[in-house]
């Protein structure tokens, strides 16, 4: 991983590290912050400072991760890519230390290029083709491979991201 700067903080330091400008992704299930960062392509050297809080107590989730991206405003479309691993995530856009926009992640109807098909006999694992899935259920999350039609759910989704 080539992060320009990754600061993993203890939860008690959270208030100190408020960002002045950028995006805060909250309510990421505990342990998934790295996958979020990877899916959003924030591992490039030009993606700005990332502030990560992991294992933070949460009323909604018990424990959660938070990712703050300094100096970059993510769009709803960009953030929806993380819906498969953080379906309850909330996104805050910060300008001049104030939240100017707030939205929740939405699981799209169709996802492409985010996870591999767990079926080893699926053509998408053998040919140069981007894996695609239809979302058949949001809660619990269930996907169906566009090619082999196999249903993917639960841990199989996380394992194949």
């Amino acid at each position: 991983m080539e992060c320009s700067e990754v600061i993993v903080m203890a939860p008690q330091n959270l208030k100190v590290e408020v960002i002045s400008e950028g995006t805060v992704i909250d309510h990421i299930p505990r342990g998934n912050w790295l996958k979020v960062v990877e899916i959003l392509g924030l591992t490039e050297s030009n993606s700005g400072t990332l502030l990560i809080a992991s294992n933070v107590p949460s009323k909604k989730l018990g424990r959660k991760d938070i990712v703050k991206i300094e100096g970059r405003h993510l769009t709803e479309e960009e953030v929806n890519k993380i819906a498969l691993i953080a379906p309850k995530a909330t996104v805050n856009i910060v300008e001049d230390y104030r939240i100017v926009e707030k939205f929740t992640v939405e699981v799209p109807d169709f996802v492409e290029g985010i996870l591999r098909c767990p079926n080893p006999r699926c053509v998408s694992n053998h040919e140069a083709v981007s894996p695609k899935f239809h979302v058949v259920s949001r809660d619990p999350l269930k996907l169906r491979c566009h090619y082999c039609e196999r249903t993917v759910e639960g841990d199989d989704i996380l394992k194949n991201l």
Partner: protein, 316 residues
């Protein structure tokens, strides 16, 4: 995903990849066209709707019956056929991707029939090709023309698909033919008996889906007890190659055989179907009885595939 194509012009260039893409109206439409073609074929002997058209049959794994059935259907329509019947004789041996083979073959032909060992291969081929692609089996996933010919056989034999009590027997866990057939039957007013050894029961998600669609589903391990209730018994082979381990296969092989003893309490009108080839699931003594429908079922492949070829080519 399902869209109804009730007009012949809607079918031109359409791919036939999965039964999931078919509505009940689509199924009925194909069966109607097949029936009209069968009647016309019986009257005239041969037809010439597809004269000048070329079918490419790309069989990456052997399936003599399916390939011959498609080729016969195309010849009966007056068209021509090119193709290969095993991966060893094709460019795949030289390492060519499926996508490249399809892009090449579509320039030689007007319609492509594909049989491939990988799940989802037909969907990929259909995305790449500008000519229609018909799936003749993609790994353990779909074989839609088998399902359509099964439905056609039932409708021809009973004059309807509704109000029938149907038993599905054999490998209900791994058998893609029965999964696909059961899901298509769910469009109709049928009662289903799923008969299999305990370890080869129909996957839960399919049973739930059938029930959600309003089908009355019963599960049983006892064939003799169930047979008297049935109008139709659909028998499948327990396929060794689908089992992850040999031991599991050895436990269940030869679990059931449909023979005169099993059928002694059957309704006189009971029909027995089988996608063939059979091993020992149906005793040859059944062949000569009024119950045997499996050889008519083989013939059904011709009008159904003629209909699909003709519709997707836009020549009917």
């Amino acid at each position: 995903m399902r869209r109804a194509c009730m007009d012949k012009t809607d079918w031109i260039g359409r791919d036939v990849v999965s039964m999931r893409d078919f509505s009940k109206e689509d199924i009925e439409f194909v069966l109607d066209v097949a029936e009209a073609l069968e009647d016309e074929l019986r009257k005239k002997g041969s037809l010439d709707y597809a004269r000048g058209k070329i079918l490419a049959t790309l069989f990456y794994e052997p399936s003599t019956r399916t390939r011959l059935s498609f080729e016969s259907a195309m010849h009966r329509l007056g068209g021509s056929v090119i193709g290969f019947s095993s991966a060893s004789s094709s460019s795949v041996k030289k390492g060519e991707s499926l996508a490249d083979t399809i892009r090449t073959v579509e320039r030689y032909s007007d319609v492509i029939v594909l049989r491939h060992p990988l799940d989802g291969a037909a969907r990929l081929a259909a995305e790449v090709a500008s000519v229609p692609v018909i799936n003749a089996g993609d790994g353990s996933n779909q074989h839609p023309t088998q399902t359509l010919l099964d439905l056609y056989t039932i409708r021809r034999a009973f004059g309807r698909i509704d109000r029938l009590t149907i038993g599905l027997l054999g490998d209900l866990k791994y058998g893609r033919t029965v999964h696909s057939l059961a899901e298509a039957l769910a469009f109709y007013d049928v009662e289903l008996y799923l008969i299999s050894p305990e370890i080869l029961r129909m996957p839960r998600h399919i049973v739930e889906e059938l029930r959600e669609m309003g089908v009355e589903v019963h599960e049983s391990t006892n064939l003799e007890e169930t047979v008297p209730k049935l109008d139709l018994l659909y028998v499948t082979r327990i396929q060794r190659e689908r089992f992850p381990d040999e031991e599991e296969y050895m436990k269940v092989r030869g679990s059931y055989q449909v023979n005169a003893t099993v059928l002694r309490n059957a309704k006189e009108s009971l029909k027995v179907m089988h996608p063939l080839p059979r091993v020992d699931e149906i005793h040859p003594e059944v062949d000569g009885t009024g119950h045997a429908l499996y050889f008519d079922q083989v013939f059904s492949g011709i009008p159904v595939r003629m209909a699909l070829l003709g519709l997707t080519l836009g020549v009917l």
